[in-house]
């Protein structure tokens, strides 16, 4: 009984943590972008205000059941993936759900949300949403390949599918996988550009092309759900990267520093680049990132 309570407690705390850190990161993203763009920019807590405002908006849009469920699917997917990913080394405070084989489960869960969103957006009848969804799925087909290759390379190399085991390997050897299998890291980082959907891969919700893509018909509470699930998901992904490649984190401050540094890679790359067209983006992912993924696989199987 106590164990279950502890799990629940850990789940709630990690959700709150992921939500607030994720939203802060988004605010910092806007701030950093603004500084690059030669202006002051909004305060770092701007996104909290946005989220509260979106939640307090009345929402009277109805396009059918799937449209209502779409953001919920996203939220479920983000929270589930957060719960599967161990937050800290050593399993003391945030045990979450960890079990043998969770990497494969995670791969499934991470694609589940966007698919549900795609169904929801498809039902709105807005052509912008429909085109945005097809673009999103195409882009997913692009970055999933290097991403899966990198993960499979890790699984082969360390002969485990558990994230905890991979973290333990790094803690024991004292070497980050980032350095021991650099090709997998490179492939995964490049795939991360696609996951975060910042420029040059913001093709899904490109404003000057598709208004805001799949979100076109979603305002108020829907957008609130999407924004908060996005921030949770962002934190979950960053934590996963830290767990897998950067030796995990021993305390929260270390985690925040590491995730923030990782987060700045796509943000800063995005500020100075225009966006790709869909087929160019997919081709990009199937180029160098996939090549690195292949190298990682070869490296894993010979070592």
């Amino acid at each position: 009984m106590e164990a279950i309570l502890q799990y629940l407690w850990g789940a709630v705390v990690s959700f709150v943590l992921a939500f607030s850190v994720g939203i802060t990161y988004m605010g910092l993203n806007r701030k950093v972008t603004a500084r690059v763009q030669n202006r002051i920019g909004p305060p770092w807590y701007q996104n909290f205000l946005d989220v509260v405002k979106l939640y307090s908006k009345k929402t009277s849009i109805h396009h059918g059941t799937m449209h209502h469920l779409g953001p919920a699917f996203l939220m479920v997917s983000s929270v589930l993936s957060l719960l599967v990913i161990p937050i800290l080394n050593g399993d003391r405070f945030f045990p979450n759900l960890t079990f043998q084989g969770d990497l494969i489960f995670l791969l499934y869960i991470m694609t589940f949300g966007p698919l549900g969103m795609a169904l929801g957006a498809g039902q709105t009848g807005n052509p912008n949403s429909a085109i945005g969804v097809t673009r999103g799925l195409a882009q997913m087909a692009g970055f999933e390949i290097p991403w899966v290759m990198a993960l499979v390379a890790l699984m082969i190399q360390y002969k485990t599918t558990s994230i905890i085991d991979i973290m333990n390997v790094q803690v024991e050897s004292g070497k980050w996988i980032m350095f021991t299998s650099p090709f997998a890291f490179l492939a995964a980082i490049m795939a991360m550009f696609g996951m975060f959907r910042y420029s040059p891969f913001d093709i899904v919700g490109a404003p000057s092309e598709l208004a805001s893509g799949p979100m076109s018909e979603n305002g108020g509470k829907y957008l609130f759900t999407m924004m908060s699930s996005g921030s949770v998901f962002a934190f979950a992904k960053l934590t996963l990267y830290v767990d897998l490649f950067m030796g995990g984190a021993n305390n929260l401050i270390e985690l925040v520093v590491k995730t923030f540094l990782l987060y700045m890679i796509p943000v800063l790359y995005g500020v100075v680049n225009p966006r790709y067209r869909t087929e160019q983006a997919v081709r990009w992912f199937w180029g160098w990132p996939s090549f690195f993924g292949l190298l990682a696989l070869i490296h894993a199987s010979i070592s």
């Binding site: 701007q46 946005d50 509260v52 208004a211």
Partner: protein
Amino acid sequence: MINDKVSQKIVDIIQNFARKHSLWVLAYGTGCGAIEIPPTMTSRYDAERLGVRGAATPRQADVLLITGYLTTKTLKRVIRVYEQMQDPKYVIGFGSCTINGGMYYDSYNTIKALDRYLPVDVYINGCMPRPEAVLEGFAKLQELIQAGKADGARKYKENLDWYRANQKEVIPVWRMPEYNW
């Protein structure tokens, strides 16, 4: 124990604070005033400091910025856009021509007083209003929101018949869905 009134008041204060500092402006340049929106949003004047930010679709927007004169053809679209926006929503009339027709007072294709067709919360006068004036308009709107006085949407809902009658007066062929909130 906190009674309902007090808790409602606290919620209102938090909501109004958030609404005040997060104004998403619909990216719809209805008239020539749209030329001063990029300077307002970009580096020198940087409206994002106040939480003012562009929104791509009416569903996500809070503020409808009517940038200048409205032709009857645009008025129809603007009404549609306004009705698609979600509560709470605000309208800012931008430029002299939204107030009294400005220099287009004798044109056969532009309306002369915006507040007969849409509930306007803040007017910014001038032709063109400078970015400073636009920022001041936003600051004024924030004041109104904080005081809970920016209730154009409620006015529209309560007096829908009057607004509809005025709108139908200038739009000869009315093929639009009903307003559903």
